[in-house]
């Protein structure tokens, strides 16, 4: 892991070791989290990605001390989560949650600030989250996007060392999302650690130093977002070729797979630079050439598609976190 080598003495902001949690339902046990290992160094911004049911929220619940793991260890700055929460080291925006009514936005933020020993100034938090203009409004008269920003203010007001955000931008429009992440970037720049779960893969791409992909209760990939993309055929070349030869195309350097529909070919590449040079040598008359970055979406689909279905024990051939990096 990238952070493990920096220092063995300094406590990790987050350390999850062999974390597992099973929910017992009347129908069948649900293995929500099945052996998650994760270490986050202080100051990192990490995206937690995965489809519904991947175990992201359960992992976050255990990290926040809202759920106990069946097995495994959770440490936040070297301490159990309950201790870190009691000290005010964690701020969290959980996936679901509304605001209590009959207070103004400013009053609610002040009320939460009073729970911390050393909170941020309420005015500073309102400014940071861009809600000064609604500070006097009642909490029960806010739009969805405004509510999310107030919830962000509540998570930030304790000036926590670790900020945990579980799908924080759900229900926000594009502009709100952009300013939300601007806020978080500002906060991260003060050396704070941020872990956020998201469905919006571009958010992970744009705002995280590192992406952790979960599927079916396990971490299936963990690394810098650029590395994750490179791992799985990072770019696609589209071109129009007359007399395209699948076998020849496949033999060119940097090309992983070939898809042909008449004259149109789509080439998935592990090294698009080498591939495009070789392609133009072999087909000097190639037209309509496009090179498309895959983004995390494709990386994500490829990585999680290889997983065995639920209930079947993990195969040795399935991608391991270690051999992916």
């Amino acid at each position: 892991m990238p952070s493990a080598t920096t220092s063995h003495r300094r406590a990790f902001a987050v350390e999850l070791a062999m974390l597992a949690k099973t929910f017992h339902t009347p129908a069948e046990p649900v293995h929500a989290v099945r052996g998650v290992n994760l270490r986050i160094a202080p100051g990192e911004t990490v995206a937690l990605l995965g489809p519904n049911g991947a175990g992201k929220s359960t992992t976050i619940d255990m990290l926040l001390g809202l759920a106990n793991p069946d097995t495994g260890l959770v440490r936040v700055f070297g301490r159990p989560p309950a201790d870190a929460v009691a000290e005010g080291s964690i701020g969290a925006m959980q996936q679901t949650g509304g605001l209590i009514p009959d207070l103004s936005v400013r009053e609610l933020v002040t009320m939460v600030a009073s729970l911390y020993v050393d909170p941020m100034k309420v005015d500073d938090v309102l400014e940071l989250t861009g809600i000064e203009d609604i500070a006097r409004q009642r909490t029960n008269r806010l739009s969805g996007g405004q509510t999310q920003r107030v919830r962000a203010a509540i998570a930030l007001v304790g000036d926590p060392e670790l900020l945990v955000l579980d799908e924080p931008t759900v229900g926000m429009d594009v502009e709100s999302r952009r300013s939300f992440w601007q806020t978080m970037r500002t906060y991260a720049s003060t050396g704070r650690t941020i872990l956020f779960a998201t469905h919006y893969l571009d958010e992970a791409d744009d705002y995280a130093d590192r992406a952790v992909l979960m599927a079916r209760g396990r971490v299936v990939a963990d690394g810098p977002t650029t590395v994750i993309k490179a791992m799985v055929g990072s770019r696609t070349i589209r071109a129009t070729l007359s007399n395209a030869d699948r076998v020849l195309l496949h033999s060119l350097p940097g090309i992983v797979s070939v898809d042909r529909h008449g004259e149109a070919v789509i080439l998935s590449c592990s090294d698009s630079d080498a591939a495009i040079r070789a392609l133009l040598q072999a087909y000097p008359d190639a037209r309509d050439i496009e090179i498309i970055g895959a983004g995390l979406e494709q990386a994500f689909l490829q990585l999680t598609a290889d997983q065995p279905p639920p209930g079947i024990p993990r195969q040795a051939s399935a991608p391991q976190q270690e051999n992916l990096l």
Binding site: A92, L99, L103, M111
Partner: protein, 241 residues
């Protein structure tokens, strides 16, 4: 303290709640007691109608107020506010103390409003009796504050209104809020209920010694039992899943 202050502001700003908790008992009191203001010994109890109903409706008001303060926990659970608080340094004890102090603040306002209405209808007693009566009302409120917390953790916000309304109305009826209960099975039943002893505080000005040992025993037993249950419900609701 800041947390408590905003909890109080929040409670007293909720118009519907305030109307129901304060105005409703007050209006009922005037409707029932004003026409009978010259009745000096209601049903042979030796207590005037204005005094009897003043305490009876104070009982009703503080009971519903205390229970519904605690029951607001259900609304906080419903919107996920409790989960939000669990990731702050707020301690369980502070959370519960805040709820109970709020319940008592509501109760004191109710009591003072009904006292004022009672005085307007001619209720007179010594300062010592006023204080003793108030003291009994506040002590008798303990089991109801605990009941609110208990129900707030057990029942969903959607059903809490009818549940609490029903329980409070039944306890008020059986405790003698609406008419004195003086004999028979109903009397034996009433004396085992904490609401009866709240109503019974109206006996202070006629020289009877407040509750007597049975009263203290019943209120203490209900308090201990409901506090234990409320604490258990709170722990179950807030421990890691």
């Amino acid at each position: 303290m800041t947390y408590l202050r905003y909890e109080l502001i929040r409670t007293f700003r909720n118009i519907r709640f305030v109307i129901f908790a304060f105005a409703f008992p007050l209006v009922l009191y005037l409707v029932i007691a004003a026409p009978n203001r010259n009745e000096h010994s209601l049903a042979g109890t030796g207590i005037s109608a204005p005094l009897y109903y003043m305490v009876g409706l104070a009982t009703f008001a503080v009971m519903t107020g205390a229970v519904s303060s605690g029951a607001r926990i259900a609304a906080e659970r419903q919107v996920g506010w409790n989960r939000q608080l669990r990731v702050t340094p707020l301690r369980s004890r502070t959370y519960l103390v805040t709820k109970v102090v709020t319940a008592y603040a509501m109760a004191l306002v109710s009591i003072l409003l009904l006292y004022a209405a009672g005085i307007a209808l001619g209720v007179r007693m010594s300062a010592g009796d006023w204080l003793e009566m108030t003291g009994l009302l506040l002590v008798g409120l303990i089991p109801f504050a605990a009941l609110g917390v208990l129900v707030g953790h057990l029942v969903s916000a959607d059903t809490i209104g009818p549940v609490m309304g029903g329980v409070a109305a039944l306890l008020a009826l059986l405790g003698g809020t609406w008419f004195p209960i003086t004999s028979g099975f109903m009397y034996d039943l009433a004396r085992s209920l904490p609401s009866y002893w709240l109503v019974r505080a109206s006996h202070v000005p006629i020289g009877s010694t407040g509750w007597g040992s049975l009263g203290w025993l019943v209120v203490a037993a209900w308090s201990v039992a409901l506090i234990a249950l409320a604490a258990r419900a709170h722990r179950r609701d807030t421990r890691p899943a």
